[in-house]
Symmetry: C2
Subunit: 320 residues, 2 copies
């Protein structure tokens, strides 16, 4: 029988290294400022943290996020917590890593809506950022770039981990870390085949899967207009395929699925049974699976709000 320790891995206490993007204290500090700075948005009113609220499981608990001029994003905002361990970023995996992801929302017209050339202009217009970029990227002639902002944000985000969930303590050998019901749920999770997609360190995040393998979840959960991974690869087999979301901290990150249309975790579990397993889960199975998922919530990162470098009279002003 396959065991939990073969299928999953514990979340570490410290950030993994990012290839080609060494984390220095100066770069992490810069990334933290940028993560919280609403001046990266055209309006100066939306920051990374608006939709990836570290007080709310790294999400905004909205079906889809509210962006520039109250426009709605196309898909539910995934959590930033432990996101460094995902195989790629966004529901369709269109960004290879956190660094690539960070460039998306800033310039997306329905999110932060800063034109690409404007981001470095804005940052250069804030004297404290000129210094902070110079310290984070020493030796570069022109360190205040969008690419460097993405690097700095990525190293900050790589440290947004939630170690020490009951399930992690269980994986480390503390059999008492899970309740009897949670252990029963883990057995169902393994035996029913949830683990085919939800495995690895993030219990998800490692692969793509067609939504509706056995039965379509319906147009509310799977609107025909959003073909998921296919929009990136243009490969027929990827139609309606999405990145399998992490189940870590899932009790904090409602609503669920790429549409964000299911608010109740029990209901989401039932949908998964029907659509992905072709198996009508019994009420007791749904109960134990949901209880097991409660064991996946880890210690949330404690982050001190950064004091942001002040704007000056010549700093570019918010756009209406």
């Amino acid at each position: 029988m396959v065991t939990a320790r073969e299928l999953f891995k514990v979340i570490p206490d410290t950030a993994p290294d990012l290839p080609g993007n060494a984390a220095t204290p100066e770069k992490v500090a810069l990334g933290k400022m940028l993560f919280f700075d609403p001046r990266l948005a055209a309006s100066h009113a939306i920051s990374c943290s608006s939709c990836h609220n570290l007080g709310l499981g790294g999400t905004d608990n909205e079906e889809t996020s509210i962006g520039h001029r109250w426009q709605r994003g196309g898909r539910n905002a995934p959590t930033v917590l432990n996101a460094v361990f995902n195989t790629a970023q966004f529901w369709d995996g269109r960004a290879a890593d956190l660094e690539a992801q960070a460039g998306g929302p800033m310039v997306n017209p329905v999110e932060m809506a800063s034109p690409e050339v404007h981001v470095p202009e804005q940052l250069r217009g804030i004297p404290g950022y000129r210094d902070a970029f110079a310290r984070a990227f020493p030796g570069e002639a022109d360190p205040v770039t969008l690419a460097n902002a993405q690097k700095a944000i990525a190293v900050f985000e790589a440290g947004l981990l939630t170690p020490d969930a009951p399930f992690d303590r269980y994986l480390k050998g503390d059999a008492a870390a899970l309740s009897a019901e949670q252990k029963a749920g883990l057995s169902v999770f393994i035996d029913k085949g949830c683990i085919r997609c939800h495995n690895g360190i993030n219990i998800g995040g490692a692969m793509y899967a067609k939504f509706g393998v056995f039965a379509s979840p319906g147009a509310t959960l799977l609107p025909p207009g959003d073909k998921g991974r296919y929009t990136v690869t243009r490969t027929d087999g990827d139609q309606y395929s999405f990145k399998v979301p992490t189940l870590r901290n899932i009790t904090l990150t409602a609503p669920y699925f790429h549409t964000g249309t299911v608010w109740d975790l029990r209901e989401a579990v039932a949908v998964m049974g029907d659509a992905q397993l072709g198996s009508k889960l019994s009420e007791p199975e749904i109960d134990t699976l949901t209880a097991f998922m409660g064991s996946l919530t880890g210690k949330q990162p404690e982050v001190t709000m950064p004091i942001l470098p002040p704007s000056v009279a010549t700093t570019p002003r918010p756009k209406p």
Copy 2:
């Protein structure tokens, strides 16, 4: 000659007591959660901290704030920092204190837009808040009320102080805390009569003054439709009167005036000379006054982001 020590007072390190609203650790912790919780807004997307960003001098650095469905507020958002020392809250003083103020934006349809009855409904729908209110207001049969939310927010905000500005060190006797130019600016500030309105612990915040005593600042800075304090008192003498804003942390809180239409502190100083002193300030006077104002920026509060009590399946959901 009047001295700075007679006119001003230093910012203390710790929060003052609020009459009838004792600060307990539980109440401060609850107030901090509420301050950062966007679920107090109908949209679940706007919190107190959206417009009173502790990384940006307790303001949003917007002319007027962006509220529910991207509506604009009527006046520039004042800083929450040291606001406990203001004689009243809002530009028109319509709230007597922080506790009264905190109730305003939550229910204001252009700001957070939560109907008054909805706030406690929302909070009761989040189990962690039921516990947190019970701990903060022990012995109350029904502690989850809008009034108690306001009390908790007020005790948290009362601790948002910025002690140890160079000017405070100067007031305490450290003559070297101000530069020669800043000292010259302080002399101009006293001699020209800025101190008639900008005095006391907040160097402002203690009284109301008609905007345009000597000359109207024009319709951009003083739109005829906003009669200021008059809208509260209906007393003719209060027409176009506004609460004198604090000058503490003024380098962080652009744009200026109740309209937020002046982004350059030097320009704001010049406007004050013309409109309030009836004295065209010279360029050197503007320079030294602006330098003096730079000495009013204190140590910004270090705040750890609160982990918010999670929503559950039955928690009221955001309104579209």
